[in-house]
Symmetry: D2
Subunit: 333 residues, 4 copies
C-alpha cells in the first residue's frame, strides 16, 4: 500500500519547523475538528483523533462501556475477528450475533436484546452496552439508510450506544447507489470514526461523538491505551487537509471508480463474484490453478476457501489506484 | 438448594478447634489430594482447590493461557454465557464454536483449528490456546468415551490443552449408560475439575492436572484472582470426606436415580422432553398455561422459550433429593 | 487457625436441609443485612457479602473506580503489598503514599491530592478516585476518631470515596482506648467491610455502603470477579449469627483480652515491642537465637528483620484464643 | 515541538507511491533493523518498531512478564508516573523503589530483591519479573557504565530481565562526559529501545532485544495493544534514515550543544540549577515572580514547586534547536 495523498505530505513538510504543542492541543487539530463538525452537520460534536483502527475501537469501546458490559458485533466484525483480542485485553466481551455479508439486521439485534432481558439469569451474563457495526463492512457491503434508522431505533429503545467503525468510510459514502451520507451517519449513530489510514492519510482516525458526549478524561484514556500521539498535530494536519475542498470525498470516489472498473474486468473475463460489492473491496472466486499461475505477478489478499478447487480472493482499490494500474491486470486474467 | 452432606458438616465441626495452617497447606488438603489422585489413577497429578466454578474456570484458564491466546468453547459453554465475562475480565477471548446440545465434535474442532492455521491473517487473530468442554454439559448431555478420545487427539495434534469443567462431574460419571469413568476423564484431558459445590459440598472445586503440570506460583495466581481461601482446610476437609468410601459417587448416584424417576413422571403425564438427558438436569417442554398454574407451588429454572405457547424449564435433582420429594410433584402435573 | 464460632456451625447445620435460593437471595442474607444496618445506625445502607478479603478489596475497588482512576493507599496497605496484584489485575493502579505504622494522615493525603491537581501534566497520570485505609491497619494500629474525621473531610473536599478495609474490624472496635465505634466507621467512610473470616466466621466479609450507594449490577460484578458464592445463604447465616446478641463484639473482646495478656507476658520477660499495639496483633522484637530455640515449639509469623541479630515476629490472638493457651507460652520465653 | 528531520520527510515523500507490504513486513523495516543491529554490535538482536513511548513500555512489559509478575521501577519512572496507568491496564503492578535524581542503585535493587525472597509471605506478593530504568532518566541524569554493569549483574543473579527505556537515548549517548555507548547499552540490558519520537522522527521507537529473544507472536501482541501500525514501512523508513551516516548521533549532539549553551546562559544570569544535567533537559529554579514576567514570551514545562516562592521549570532542546534560538532567550532572563 502507498503512503499518503501528496497534499498531506506537503502540509506536513510545510509546518515541520513550527513549534506546535503536543498531544493534540494544536491549531491544526482544532481546525480539522471544525471542518469535520461542519461536514457532519453537527456543530456540537466532540472530535478526537487516534492513530489506527484497532486502537480506536479498543479505546472508544473501553471508554464507553462499564466493566460488566460487552459490545454486540456481527460475528464477522473486525473487533471480533481481526484485532488480536484487543477488546478482551481491555476486559470486555464481544457478543457476536448473526450477520448477512457482514451486516446485522435490526430484527436480529432486537431479538438478541429481548432474549437477553427476558432471560431470568441475565444477571449472570455480560450486559450488552453498545452495538458495533462497520460501514462499509469487512465484506465491502453497505447499510441502507432505512437499515441504519431501524438499528438506531432499536439502540435508542434499549438505551445502548451505536458505534460505527468507519475505517473505510469514504469508500462507503462514495459508493454507487448508496443512500447514506456523512450527515446520516452522524445523525444515526452515537459515535463513529472517519478512517484516514485507508483513505489518503499516512495514519489516523477521526472519532466523532454525535449522539453522546465524549467521555471525560479522554486524553488520559487514550494515553492508558497507548494511543496518545506525542505529535498530535500530525493527526490534525492530515484531517485538516482531507476535509479541505472535499479531498476526502474526491479521493474516495477515485477508489470506487477503479473498483467498478476492476469488477467489470473480472466479470468480462468470466470470473464469478463472491459478493457483489459496490465499494473498494472486490471479492472474486478464482480457481486455485489460476491463482498458482498468478504467483509472482499479481498480489491479492486470501479471503477464504470457496470449495476444494476455488478460493475467494480480495482485491482492494484506494485513493492511490489509477485506471492504468487496474487495466494492467487484464493481461494476467 | 441445600447445604452439604451431613458427614461434611460433621467433619468440619470435628476439626473446628484444631489450629490448622492457612491457604491450603494443611493435612486435610493433602489427604484429599491423595485420595483424588488415587481415584483418578494418576499418582503424579497436581491437585489444587478453589471455592466456586466461575472462579475456577477464570483462574485455570488465565493461568494456562498466554496473553495472546483464547479458549475454544462450545457457544453454549458456561464460560461463554453465564460467567459475567470473567474470562474476558482476565483478558482472554472465548472462541465460541458450534455445538449439539452443549457438546462440540472433534470434526468441528479440527475444522476450526485448521481454518485458523490456514488463514494467512491469523497473526491478527487470537490464537486458540485451550479447549474448554463441560461434562455433563449445560444441557445435561454427556460425551462418549470415543468422543473424548477424538477431541483429546485433536488437541494433542495441535498442541493445545484440553480443560474439562466438571462442576457436575459426579452426576455425569454415575449417569445411566455412560461409558466414561473418572480415570477416563483423567487420561483424556490435561486438566479438569471435580465439582463439589453442586455435589455434596458447601462449596469447593478440586482441580486436577493430569496431562500437564500445574503452573508454577499457583498460590499467587489464585490470590490474584480473589480465589485463595484463607481457611483452605475447609476445602481439603470437604473433599477428604467426599473421596472417602466413595461418598462422592454414592451421592451422585442418588441424584441420578431421582432424576430418572422425575423424567418418567413427566413422560407418564404426557410432557415432552426438550432433551433426553441421562443426568441430574431434566429439560421439560411445558405449556405456559400449566406453568402459570404451578406458580407458588413448584419452583423450576426458566431455560428458554420453546415457542409462542410453551417454555423449556429445567428441574435438577441433587445428592439431597429424595424419592418422596420427587413423588410429591405428581399432584401438580 | 481455627474454623468458626460454634454457634455458626450450629446454625449452618440447622438450616442444612432447607431449600434456600442461591446467590444471596435468601432470608438469612436479608436478616443479616438488617442487623448490620441496625448496628451501623444506617437504615438505608446497602449491604452485600463476599467470601474473602482480597476478593472484597478487588471487587469493590473495581466496581467503584473508572478505568482511568486509581486508589490511594498507605504504602503498607494490604492491597499494595499482600494481594498478589489483584487490584492491578483488574486494571487499577495503587497509588502508595507515606504512612506511620500503617496509617496515613490527612495532611499527607491532602498534600498528595493538591500536588496532583496542581501538576500541569496530571492528565498523563492516573487520577486518584478513592482512598483505601484499613482499621486496624496491617500493623495493628488504629485511627482515632478525629483522624478519621479529617481524612473523611479531605475525601469529601476532593470528591473521592473513602473505603475502609475492616478485615479485622471487630478487633479494632473492641481495642482498649479506642474512641471509634461501628457507627463512627459507618458515618466517616463511604464504604467499608466487616471482616468475618478473621473474626469468628468460616469465611465471609460484609460490605456496607453508607456514604454512597452500592453500584448497580453488583451481582454481575461479583460473578465477574469470581466472588459470587452459589450458596450465598452460608454468608448470610454466618453474619446473621455474628450480629445476633452482639456476638461479633463479644468474641472480638476476647481476642483483645488475650492480646493484652500476651503483650504483658512478653514485656514481663524483657522483650521489646516493635509497635505498641492495642489490637489482636502483637509485634515483638526477638533475638534470632531465641527464635531458633522456639523452633518446633511455638509458631509465629515472620514480620521483618529488625537488625542483624533480631527479628520482628507477629503473634495474633483471635475469637478462639484462651487465656490458658496464652499462658502456656510462658514456659518457652 | 517540531516534526521530523528533513531527510526523514524527504524519504517518506520519495517512497510514497511505492506499494509496500503492511505491518512492518517491508524492505525499509528490514534495512533499519540491520543498521540498528550493526550500530549495537549485535548481529543476532531482534528488532521491532512501535509508534510511541507509552505504547512501547506497555507492550514490551506485558509481552515479557507472566501474569503474577510486576516490574521494578524507580518511583519517578515514566511507567510509574506519567503513563496513565497503561502498565496496570495490562494487569501488571509497577513496583516502585527509591531513586536518586531518577536513577536506581544496584544496592537498592539488590536489597529489594533479597528482602522479597527472604519474606516468608512472598507468595502473596507480586513477584518482580523485570527491572525498568530509563537513560537518560526523567531528570535528565545518566547512568555510568559501572552502574549499569552492577545493575545488570544483579538482574542476572536474580534471573530477571533488564529493560531500558531509551525514549531520549540519543541525548544520553551524546552527553558530555558519559562513558556509556550504544554498544554498552546493548550489552548491559536484555531489551531496550531507541527513541525516535523525541530524536528526529515524526514518531517511532525501535525495540532491540539483545540479552533475550523477542517473544513469539510479537505481531499479535502489538496488535492486541493497539500498537501495530498498518503502514509499518513509515517506521522502518524513518529509522533507516536515522541510522544512515550516523544521523541519529549527529542530531542528538546538536541538542546537547544547545543544552550546554542554555545551561551556561542560565548560570550566567544567576539562576540556580535544580539538577546539573548533561543531557538535553535542563531544570532551572526560577522565582515565581520571574515566571510571571515570562508569560506570553517564553514557554517551558512546569516541573515541580521548589518552595513557596520558587518553581523548578524544565527547558528541553532537541535535534531541531538552533544556537540562535537559545540565544534569543537571553533578552528575557
Amino acid at each position: 500500500m502507498e503512503g499518503a495523498h501528496p497534499s498531506i505530505l506537503e502540509k506536513i513538510s510545510r509546518i515541520n519547523f513550527e513549534k506546535n504543542p503536543g498531544y493534540g492541543d494544536d491549531p491544526y487539530s482544532a481546525a480539522a475538528a471544525d471542518k469535520i463538525r461542519a461536514a457532519c452537520g453537527c456543530p456540537d460534536a466532540d472530535v478526537t483523533f487516534l492513530v489506527g483502527g484497532t486502537q480506536t475501537n479498543d479505546t472508544i469501546i473501553d471508554a464507553l462501556l462499564q466493566s460488566y458490559q460487552g459490545v454486540i458485533s456481527p460475528e464477522t466484525g473486525h473487533i471480533n475477528c481481526h484485532e488480536a483480542g484487543a477488546i478482551e485485553h481491555s476486559g470486555h466481551k464481544v457478543l457476536g450475533i448473526g450477520h448477512r455479508q457482514g451486516k446485522i439486521s435490526a430484527e436480529e439485534l432486537e431479538n438478541y436484546l429481548s432474549v437477553f432481558y427476558s432471560d431470568a439469569n441475565h444477571d449472570h451474563m455480560i450486559q450488552p452496552g453498545m452495538v458495533y457495526i462497520s460501514h462499509p463492512t469487512e465484506y465491502g457491503t453497505l447499510y441502507k439508510k432505512s437499515e441504519l434508522e431501524q438499528i438506531h431505533s432499536i439502540c435508542k429503545k434499549y438505551g445502548i450506544a451505536l458505534f460505527l467503525d468507519g475505517a473505510r468510510l469514504g469508500y462507503g459514502l462514495m459508493a454507487e447507489g448508496t443512500d447514506v451520507t456523512l450527515r446520516d451517519i452522524a445523525r444515526l449513530t452515537d459515535v463513529f470514526y472517519i478512517g484516514g489510514t485507508k483513505v489518503g492519510a499516512l495514519f489516523g482516525e477521526a472519532v466523532v461523538f454525535t449522539g453522546i458526549s465524549m467521555p471525560r478524561h479522554m486524553l488520559t484514556i487514550k494515553k492508558q491505551h497507548g494511543g496518545l500521539l506525542a505529535k498530535g498535530f500530525l493527526l490534525g494536519a492530515q484531517f485538516d487537509v482531507l476535509f479541505t475542498d472535499d479531498l476526502y470525498f474526491k479521493i474516495s470516489e477515485n477508489a470506487i471508480k477503479c473498483a467498478m472498473q476492476l469488477k467489470k474486468l473480472f466479470i468480462s473475463k468470466g470470473y464469478r463474484l463472491f459478493i457483489d460489492s459496490s465499494t473498494n473491496q472486490q471479492f472474486i472466486i478464482m480457481p486455485d490453478a489460476k491463482l498458482k499461475e498468478l504467483e509472482g505477478k499479481v498480489t491479492y489478499s486470501f479471503w477464504e476457501k470457496y470449495d476444494a478447487h476455488n478460493t475467494v480472493v480480495r482485491f482492494a482499490t484506494s485513493w492511490a489506484t489509477t485506471p492504468e494500474y487496474v487495466q494492467s491486470l487484464e493481461q494476467y486474467l
